[in-house]
Amino acid sequence: MPDDTKRPSEQRDDVVVPLKRSRSPDGGVEAPDAVVVGGGAIGLACAWRAARRGVRVRVLERDHPGAGASHVAAGMLAPVSEASWGEEALMRLALASAGAWPGFAAELAEDSQLEVGYEPCGALHVALDRDESEELRRRFELMGSLDLGVEWLRPRACRDLEPGLVPACAAGVHAPGEAAVDPGLLLPALTAAVERCGGQVLVEAEVTDILTDDGRLTGVITGDGREHRAEHVVLASGAWSGASPWLPPLARPPVRPVKGQILTLRGNPDQPVCRRIVASERVYLVPRPDGRLIVGATVEERGFDIQVTAGGVLELLREAYRALPDVSELELVETVAGLRPGTPDNAPLVGPGALDGLVLATGHYRNGILLTPISAEAVAALLAQDPLPPEAEVAHPGRFAGESAPGLVAAPTIEDARE
């Protein structure tokens, strides 16, 4: 790291001046300190937070920012719905990140001068029949033991909160602290923030090879033949992380694609079918202020397939209708499928990779948007050689090191990805 690196506090006044650093002849900054491979929410946020710490960053995005899972994500910031036994450490990471979101969003709005789309709308987790009620009760006990700030509601109280709920609703758990963010606004804001803080975002820049020096990763080469030398390479290519043909096989992280289909409905913003996130056992509905309602999401182990299927759409619509019958009146405006980066234990991989100079910021599975602030903070700290947040320990990639667990070594190849 250069000695003249400015700390965020000193940097506040000049972050709004774009690209103030010295330029190389091709118009970019001089050799960056870090190259981030992948311009989704995670990659861009890592770059932005690192840039705020004075790290010179360059994001290499093979398509356009957010082209992967980010643009499919519903943007639920709802750690309660992910509460699960045996995953308490992951839960603490999610809660820490959820707690960081308001500040993250405010700083992002300031640095990007754009709307971020953060909505602290709260969430209602509902059970639609007796069986679901038993399951929700069991999960509520877990939530209680994790101190999640939730409240058990009888059916009438659920419908007082959300009058559109089906009368058959059997019970609910109110989580007023949960929120949502619109990735359609978040991604442009992150891109702008990276650039306004002095970083670069290169689009249609697909990494094809690596540069090494004595076993250390010293940069990458993109499809146009250009070399990007840097002290660190941050792998943030989501579901494709495990299928990075340019990385030596042993350095590829144990990440697999997990398909999700999601729908966008649209109605009158003055008469929304719900005002907060409504989540049942099988579906979640996320309202946006402009009248859209996001309905997600299937979970399918289908490799790199991203077909939208009739069965997937049917299931989502049926379950949405079961919870909020008024959805039948809404316009169906979009159906889309994306790929979540899944890991063997559902926790992300954030920290040093299996190659000197490689940093992982991937494997966020269903929680990429939720875990964006804490992941970005951890990566930025690593790049700036500052201490990592303690909650990030659960995400340390070293937990899979040397393990020849099935499914971990033989990561999918790019041939699978292109099928």
Partner: protein, 279 residues
């Protein structure tokens, strides 16, 4: 029908119809002998790691995989974990509602999994997931004609079980209660009748909630137990898998040991001869 170990089994056969199907020393299913009588489904686990640990703890050698939910060509998924553990991945036809659908799915599974074994499920509706008896028998007959080793998930109906057996199924797998319900064995008498009249292995499939259910299945004379949700959705799947393994072993041992009859009145277990006469 098993044949290799029939001679060894003949003695037991005369004594106890519950162990009459040639499985005194091992669990004979589909012409192979297995060390474990517990078959575990792979759906519903929270993570691949949780699944892997539970499968190891269960001691299962056969695990079922839904073709509709898993792309066998997609790497880095459940199948790789199963292969890595050296387990037999038994494809099932979960999600099929007609014989036609089930037969086609089984044919795809044969190609993809390179096995002619199929766990046959033909479901009547998605609320109860009860088998559709008519479609099930039809599908079983077609698949047997095509040379499949058919393991049908069936109702706890002794007549249907016999028809499936007569059609040539390699086992019959009656439910204890609806899939995923955890309600245990709701009609143990029917299971007992199925066991008594079966000449192929009987595997209790679906409804197991807790290890005592699995032990009861074995005590009733079932040759094996197939379960999934009770392990996958337990708070600690690995520990529950171990408990299920022990329950299946305990129930099987108890069946062979022979339980005492139920009696209305007490019968002291302490001998009363040789006691000092203090009168």
């Amino acid at each position: 029908m098993p044949s290799k170990v029939d001679s060894e089994a003949s003695a037991a056969e005369r004594v106890d119809p519950g162990i009459s199907r040639g499985d005194v020393d091992g669990f004979q299913l589909g012409g192979r002998i297995w060390g474990s009588r517990l078959i575990v489904g792979t759906g519903g686990f929270r993570s691949l790691e949780a699944m892997e640990r539970a499968l190891v703890a269960s001691g299962a050698e056969i695990v079922t995989v839904a073709l509709r939910r898993v792309d066998p060509l997609a790497r880095g998924s459940a199948l790789e974990v199963i292969d890595g553990l050296g387990l037999f991945a038994l494809p099932n036809t979960a999600g099929c509602y007609t014989a036609r659908d089930a037969v086609r799915t089984a044919q795809l599974a044969r190609e993809a999994f390179e096995t002619d074994w199929i766990k046959l499920e033909v479901i009547g509706d998605d609320r109860t997931l009860f088998p559709d008896a008519v479609e099930l028998l039809d599908a079983a007959q077609q698949l047997i004609d095509e040379g499949f080793t058919v393991l049908p998930y069936t109702n706890d109906d002794p007549i249907l079980a016999r028809r499936l057996q007569d059609a040539g199924c390699a086992a019959v797998m009656p439910l204890g209660s609806p899939i995923g319900s955890g309600m245990g064995i709701r009609n143990p008498y029917n299971i007992q009748i199925i066991v008594e009249s079966a000449s192929v292995p009987v595997v209790l499939d679906a409804g197991i909630g807790t290890p005592s259910d699995a032990a009861l299945a074995m005590e009733l004379g079932c040759n094996g137990v197939l379960l999934s949700s009770s392990v996958a959705r337990a708070k600690d799947p690995e520990r529950m898998a171990r408990a299920m393994r022990q329950a299946v072993e305990a129930g099987y041992a108890a069946r062979r040991a022979g339980r005492i009859p139920r009696k209305l009145h007490a019968e002291g277990s302490t001998p009363d001869q040789g006691l000092p006469d203090l009168g």
